[in-house]
Symmetry: C2
Subunit: 167 residues, 2 copies
DNA sequence: TATTGTTATACTCTATAACTATA
DNA sequence: TATAGTTATAGAGTATAACAATA
């Protein structure tokens, strides 16, 4: 059982690590949609997925996925496989080109990261990876089904908070 | 010495954890600038800082910090202390109100996070925190001084990459 | 009637470039 | 002339709400 103080401490650490993630994303080659690569990676790891499933996994609104997917389809990196059981949705599949783009980006960033972790042991890195994966698992378990990202008004929207209003 | 493959694996984990960070930021009370709280937390942890120093720590451009600071000053959460040694800059200091806002936000999110980590031991959490802190340290060490965030054209801008152009 | 996905619109965060004021 | 900071502008990324098609 974690104390709130320990939680707050970890919060700060996560924030600091956030800068690393941001910097990694900046390393992506120009012309390569940063957010799109995340999506490609998800399809690569989890197989064909629907828009709604991707939205849940990546924790963003469906509308966001929808627009990114459209662009990825135009680029030929993703294709839509009609869903025979439900005409409203289709499954998204990585194309060979899409897989290659994803692979190149991942390799590039992975090497950059590995260079950064010069003085880490492989075990230390593995430990960090494991704990991060578990963090995600705990996060997923912690939210009620349907609570996920946006969509579905989380609550009756609390009354305007007592924050100093700007002039 | 980390292999590239290990780096790529960690990259994926960091991406997954990124969703947790995003979700945490969404928990902030409405009317409370998400990015601003990060800035308040930095001032709280490191003491008075100049705009440029904050930009380096948070790994964003000075112009971004500049605008956020202006808003935080208007809200009364940060005040500018003139720098007697250099009339061009001033030191930014958390006001008592600013510290309170930051504290409330941090406590709130920390509790949310602690609840999420229900079945973790304090030691596991501490380990994750330690490794994340070290990640940030390695990251800082890995970039040449001045390489940091934007500002200062990183390089002659590589020639347009061979990415399929959109119609 | 409920659900899946799309589109229109607006807001947040960010970077780039041009500017100012000190140094 | 170089540096610290500001402002104007543009571009990602995202959420909200209204909508279409299917269930």
């Amino acid at each position: 059982m974690a104390s709130d103080a320990v939680g707050a401490e970890l919060l700060v650490r996560l924030g600091e690590a956030g800068a690393v993630i941001k910097a990694m994303r900046r390393e992506l080659p120009p012309g390569c949609p940063r957010s799109g690569v995340t999506l490609l990676a998800a399809l690569d790891r989890r197989g064909d997925l629907r828009v709604g499933e991707l939205a849940e996994i990546l924790d963003v609104d469906q509308s966001v996925i929808s627009r990114h997917v459209t662009e990825l389809v135009v680029r030929g990196w993703v294709e839509r496989m009609p869903n025979p059981r439900d005409g409203r949705s289709s499954y998204l599949r990585l194309t060979p080109q899409g897989r290659q783009v994803m692979r190149e980006s991942t390799d590039r960033l992975g090497a950059r990261l590995a260079a950064m972790l010069d003085d880490w042991t492989d075990e230390e890195i593995a430990t960090l990876g494991r704990l991060l994966a578990r963090l995600r698992t705990s996060f997923d378990a912690g939210r009620a089904p349907g609570d996920h990202a946006p969509r579905a008004p989380r609550a009756p929207a609390p009354p305007a908070p007592p924050v100093p209003s700007l002039p």
